[in-house]
Amino acid sequence: MIGRMFRGGVHPPEKKLSADVPVKPLPVPEQVIVPLSMHIGAPAKPVVQGGDEVKLGQLIAESSGFVSANIHSPVSGVVRTIEPRDHPLGRKLPCFVIDNDGKDDAVEFTPLGDWPTAEPKALIEAIHAAGIVGMGGATFPTHVKLSPPPQFPIDTVIANGVECEPYLTSDHRLMLEHPDRVLEGLRIVMRVLGLDKGFIGIEQNKPDAIALMREKVADHPGVEVLALPVRYPQGAEKQLIYAATKREIPSGGLPMNVGCLVQNVGTLAAIRDAVVEGKPLVERIVTVTGEAVAQPVNLLVRLGTPIRLLIEAAGGATVPTAKVISGGPMMGLAQYTDQTPVIKGSSGLLVLGPEQAPVIEAGPCIRCGACVRGCPMGLQPTELARLVQNDDFAAAEAWGVLDCIECGSCAFGCPAHIKLVHWIRFGKAEVMARRKKG
């Protein structure tokens, strides 16, 4: 079934350089750096300290609140220390530094058992225990997402296999190589929410994945594969929900406000591993790509691996590196050091040369409207940028600056290379700060 189109959006070149490269595991490094915060919400509280021996999969930090997540050791070895280290978010945050003893000595995994008969509560607890968070990049703790308040019942669940960002192929490869894990994960979530219907959204530029998933869901009549037209940001949850159900989330609202729940296919595979094998989240698929690496690859990486090792595994940088981005080119975060580790939300590593990431000075706005046409949320980025430039944050709020999903469609289309997303982010930060002040 073809999904409905959302308004706006742009067509950046797909550049799926690594789409046909099978996932291969990256050798586990000698030392891993595991941040206490790889998720939205309160950082986890350490339960081990410097000097302690740890096993692979052992709980090393626990949730410190409702919206928080557990953290498990991705290697076996000794905790060297807990200290501030460079984090992909761009600042130094407390991290475990663990020396790997190379043995991969794992703790005993305790699977839940027969999940079709398990209680939803038990399933959610298993997901919580495994430290699972949204792996599409947002890193929202999954057990919280699966426990919406009773006044917002869910009637639709959508697996997000859209992967609309250029260059990234980790979800694509996951669906091609482990379709059963993804499907089982989706069915587990359907069991948790008590639903018999679910969707899997995949963009039409992945026909092999669509065909394969359709084959797999043939035995499960409740699950339907949606082949979605290629347009960025189809994979953004608001746009995906609209494509699947034609429901629009109200301003300031969440998917649960329209009875929907979206989960990345990577998260679903991790959910399946947690429930069926009792395995905690310690590794993920990362696409290492870009015109500046010798060989774009998809790697299965242990969390905490410094990204310079991934760049090496892709053959190293072939041209002077202009930019290293954690994530995709539209919404990823530029890194200022290659010492940062892979975290739960690191879907990709993009190494770009000066040609792909030129420094262009912003020109004046010619009011061409490309940003307005491109905005998937129906905002007017040019107006928002103008209001923020004039420090008129009250007006910016009135014009919907908080509704921006920071997808980058506006900046992508701007012929004057105005840093629209930056202006809008600035505006959002100021509006939130003023709200806090009261």
Partner: protein, 347 residues
């Protein structure tokens, strides 16, 4: 003719009566005091007092819900006049000024990365906590310069610099700085630790050559314990500081700035009568001597605060430079006033 006069008078009367009634019905109490005070307030509407407009502030002054110290822009004369009108007490306060606690010009600092974003400090702070190698240093993109209503702060070589003459301490720059490194100090405080870095010395050394490396040399030389350490950063306790500048001289990186001065070493000459006043007043205990005998200044201990120079009544203390050259001659003795001759000759 008569009709014309009568008609006009008639219309005028109707209008007058109508307005008279209306003025009663729609009467608004306007305190004449408010108008008087409103004339004296600056009228810039800068918002330093926390009110939206100078008129609003004037109303609050008259109502007694605001104090005359809240407006830092008013001159002392205006303040005194308002105090007179409103019959309230007026005490002269030290004029405050904004101080940027950083010396990180582009020549001194390292950068974390090349920043290609919006030219605003608050916006730059959102990108990996800012592009300066030091997470606490001035970003130099001019948010403070743009927000200042008095043209008193400018970015020069990547560092914000305050023009003390123009600064009225309205506080707008303090609020807008995303790293909170601008503070308001009284102009009497001449010595400042111009660094805001809370990083350990090793890290500071790697990113800035004028940062505080927490070596604590300043604490050692301060004669009055006016420097404390918090989060790897030296802080001067302004209530205790005697403005001698010893800390600034001792600081190995130059992160403490002494805007007062110059400061010289005290040297006692033969006029000394041994009154011991200087020895007692010296905060560093640098003067020694017996009563009624010549006193001596220990050059190494002297913090150059000039207190002894000020208190000596015998022209016995000169101020010399490090080579011993006299820079300031001893203070002349106070001339005793001769008693006035009695009027007329005593008979």
């Amino acid at each position: 003719m008569l009709t014309a006069i009568l008609t006009l008078t008639g219309v005028g009367l109707v209008a007058a009566i109508g307005l008279g009634i209306a003025s009663r019905v729609f009467a608004v109490q306007v305190d004449p005091l408010v108008e008087q005070v409103a004339e004296l307030v600056p009228g810039v509407n800068c918002g330093a007092c926390g009110n939206a407009s100078c008129n609003a502030y004037a109303e609050m002054l008259v109502a007694g819900t605001a104090g005359i110290d809240e407006c830092t822009v008013m001159s002392d004369e205006a303040r005194a006049k308002i105090a007179e009108i409103l019959n309230i007490e007026f005490t002269k306060t030290d004029k405050p000024t904004a101080v940027v606690l950083c010396q990180g010009t582009t020549a001194h600092i390292q950068l974390k990365y090349h920043y290609d974003g919006v030219p605003s400090c608050r916006a730059a702070q959102l990108v990996a906590e800012g592009y300066t190698g030091c997470d606490y240093g001035c970003l130099g993109l001019g948010d403070c310069e743009r927000v200042c209503p008095f043209d008193a702060i400018h970015v020069v070589d990547g560092l914000a610099v305050v023009d003390e003459e123009k600064c009225t301490a309205c506080g707008k720059c303090v609020d807008v700085c995303p790293r909170n490194i601008i503070e308001l100090h009284t102009t009497n405080q001449r010595v400042h630790v111009l660094c805001s870095s809370q990083d350990k010395g090793k890290i500071v050394r790697g990113v800035c050559d004028v940062g505080c490396i927490a070596c604590r040399k300043c604490v050692k030389v301060c004669p009055v314990e006016a420097i404390e350490f918090k989060d790897n950063l030296a802080r001067i306790i302004t209530e205790k500081c005697i403005q001698c500048g010893a800390c600034a001289r001792a600081c190995p990186t130059g992160s403490i700035l002494d805007q007062g001065g110059p400061h010289y070493i005290a040297k006692i000459n033969d006029n000394c009568t041994g009154c011991t006043l200087c020895a007692r007043k010296c905060p560093a205990g640098a003067i020694s001597g017996e009563k009624k005998l010549l006193h001596v200044v220990d050059e190494k201990k002297c913090v150059r605060c000039h207190v002894c120079y000020d208190v000596c009544n015998f022209e016995a203390i000169a101020l010399v430079d490090e080579q011993g050259q006299e820079m300031i001659a001893p203070k002349p003795k106070k001339k005793k006033k001769k008693a006035a001759a009695p009027q007329g000759a005593a008979s």
